[in-house]
Amino acid sequence: MNILNFLEKKDISPTPIVPTQTLTSNTLVFLIAIMTFLSALTFGGLILVQKSASAWSSDISREVTIQIMPIEGELMDANLRLAETIAQATSGVSNAQALSIEESEALLKPWLGEELDLTDLNIPRLVVVKLSDPLNADLLSLKNELKIIKGARLDTHDAWRDQLNTMAKTIIISGMLIFLLIVVATLLAVFFATRSTMSSSRQTVDVLHFIGASNRFVAKEFGSRFLRIGLKGSLIGGISAIIFYMLLGFITSSYLPSSSTEQITALFGTFSLSLWDIFAILSLVPIIALLTAYTSRLTVRRFLKQIAW
């Protein structure tokens, strides 16, 4: 914490009128540090979930499938070529490619067993259509045009995507609830701690009043002190959170058995925060510091109102 000492200093000569290094203020710094840490953790978690959810969702939405049923009297290969052509002509499609029989088999194998030979079965065949621009792709016209091929059906995975979105939303909303909870708790904690610090500084306030200091003067002296406490605490908390994430990323990538790493990656994406994410987390620091300063300013004001006549 020594590197944070600069936060204690002001211009050199006079000692601050409000004592700076008391145990109560250390408690407050610590408390703010914990709360910032927890907020940052939740916040980082939110970023990670949100990222992987949108990654899943865009993976899925970048691909639609045309399924062609084997129908007596239709030439499957010709139909596959036709579907490819129609799809490729649709706006927003980058590429359409029929799966070979072997590829289709590979998709089915886990369900039908290893030894199955599908070559002499008439199984349905698939055309995988890659979208360059999922949002603006004209899937409706594609669907209409496919009607000329008997047994063709367009599968846009909508149901899947909906489910995924709902799930991601649910997780994010729960996370935001917890985040809010922690922020509210932080503010309450600051409020209580400010009051207790104030009341242990009651003597100082009294004396300042008796020698004619205005409420503005007193509030300023306390305000700047609490801003410094808030900054110190939230900096410690924010930096700890980033270190925590770095350690976590390091541990998951190097120590855990790779099978669980895969699980985690599937669930949360990689535990790697980009510079932007770190920046976003660090932006909590000034916010919490300012909230602290503001809360304590309000508290000080109320306190001063109560004790002057």
Partner: protein, 218 residues
Amino acid sequence: MIEFNNVSLRYGDGPTILRDISFSIKKGSFHFLTGSSGAGKTSLLRLLLLSLKPSEGKMSMLGQEISKLDRDRLLQLRRHIGIVFQEFKLLDHLSTFENVALPLRVLGQQPKEYEENVKELLNWVGLGERMHALPNVLSGGEKQRAAIARAVISRPDILLADEPTGNVDPELSERLLHLFAELNRMGTTIIIATHELSMIKKFNYPQIALKDGGIIIR
């Protein structure tokens, strides 16, 4: 300068401490405030410091009717009053020097401006060598002198002192009273609460004597 009109004081719903008190004090006068322990000396001084409101009656100070002032004007008025508390009320985390300089800081003066004055005054009250000590290592008498220095440093128009010599030896007592007399000659109105009969006799200023809630000025 100071006018009390039928002022009464009681704390909460306790007994009446001061009853229907009326008096006026002229600018530049010097009074002792006497009365037995618990008679209400400290309470009267707190009225004068504007830190207590009278339960009844009117008081005016420095030409202003107190009940008509808002809070900011009150605090402004207080800057013209210096006070020595019976229990000193020094700030524990500030050095003696900084405690004494506090009223000047509140008035917005810079360290450069007040440093000389503060040091001179500290030397005068015999605290030159304890200047950088924190209050809780000072002896009783040293604290008291620091409190006196803080009260007079800003040359207030009115000086209130609550038993300012209760903790010092008679010699130093007299020296401090000479300091008060000096300030008085320069125009400060002074009221000192004290038990020390020998002082009262020696300096022979008029007395405000509290007895059973009333006052006698003699």
